[in-house]
Symmetry: C2
Subunit: 235 residues, 2 copies
């Protein structure tokens, strides 16, 4: 019997490939899933529609979209203040990964998202929070590294009522050491419909993926390496 069965859990559901996979993993553990998405002024607002569809199709308990006015306080390619970098192929891009923090970095984004997830968790009585963070991200984004997850979990547990009153939060990042291909294989096994997910940082007006941003290139290669057909519609 699964000890997690029927306990509530928060899943950060962006509408992308990784978070959809994590959502399927939390559901497989038997959690009642409270999915949480953020409208933070992202260019790729279409991912919120994807998140809503995924939440419905996957059968979560609840899906909430929280509004965050990040574009007002900060600057990033993802919120429209900088350009989204584009490349002809993943080889052109690979110099970027790990070398420096990309322009698509959104200051303090994951700290903010995880914190709101914890506030939501306190409200619904959940102590498990699932995150779609993975290794390909943490090479570039400081807030995707295991070291960060650990610091964040500690902060939640000293800085919230639930944490200090003996029902501490656990941050789960089950994809953290998986490659994109491994994630896609695992999600496929769990029945995730990847045609509903959106990864592109800069989709066109019809919502079609650009095929050339870092996120599209990593996604394409993931499907190729997993040996699974890519259901994504590219512009």
């Amino acid at each position: 019997m699964n000890t997690r069965a029927n306990t509530p859990a928060i899943v950060l559901l962006s509408g992308g490939l990784d978070s959809a996979t994590v959502c399927a993993m939390a559901l497989e553990k038997g959690h009642r899933v409270y999915a949480l998405s953020f409208n933070y002024g992202q260019r790729h607002g279409i991912e919120l529609i994807a998140a809503a569809k995924l939440a419905h199709v996957m059968g979560v308990e609840d899906h909430m979209i929280a509004d965050l006015d990040l574009a007002k306080v900060t600057r990033s390619a993802l919120t429209g203040q900088l350009e989204v970098p584009k490349h002809d192929s993943i080889e052109d891009m690979s110099g970027d990964i790990g070398d420096k923090i990309p322009d698509t970095y959104v200051p303090a984004r994951n700290i903010l998202f995880i914190t709101i997830a914890a506030a939501r968790a306190e409200a619904v009585g959940a102590s498990d929070i699932y995150l779609g963070i993975n290794a390909l991200d943490y090479s570039g984004y400081p807030d995707c590294r295991p070291e960060f997850i650990e610091a964040m979990q500690h902060t939640l547990n000293v800085g919230t009522k639930q944490g200090v009153e003996g029902n501490p939060f656990t941050l789960h990042a089950p994809l953290i050491h998986m490659t994109k291909a491994e994630i896609i294989r695992e999600g496929t096994r769990l029945g995730v419909d990847y045609s509903l997910t959106r990864s592109c940082y800069d989709p066109d007006e019809n919502g079609l993926a650009c095929g050339h941003c870092d996120s599209c290139l990593l996604r394409k290669r993931g499907f190729t390496r997993a040996g699974i057909p890519d259901p994504t519609q590219y512009a």
Copy 2:
């Protein structure tokens, strides 16, 4: 010469007595102050008008009010889901302080506010963030304790670009070990006009302080003990 002179700093300015005092302290150090307030669905929204007036009168570089939809994700007396506790006198209230976390606790509020302050700091090139947290608060709220401040600072410095690229954030909580009376004396020395500040958790429709919530009671006693006339208008 002051080494902080002319460097930017973020000050979390709620419009209350404590944050106004901290703002004066940051200005005295010579910082260019970027004040930041939050519209998080608080009952006492009038504090935002107070914050705007204070920012103007005190001569800060910039004042931003960020919107946060906390009432949607969580529950607290301050966001209207629970009642604000009232007492006839501070003696009736003192049993509350330190014994348990009060209903006015807002889940993860300070983590969220400090995180957005860090995002704002990254945008304006600041590494100093000033907080009005003090001893009377940290007896009841987990996110007002020195242990929390330390954990939070570490999280920011492993989880943000600015932190990992060698320009780490410092969280300043200069009031943390001061009594309310000491804070009022220090602010008075620095010329803070406390008649512009608002502390009440549950003001009436004309914006007058209730005089009976924890915040009003602590404020009243602070002025009495400081031997300084209380300029607050009570209902």
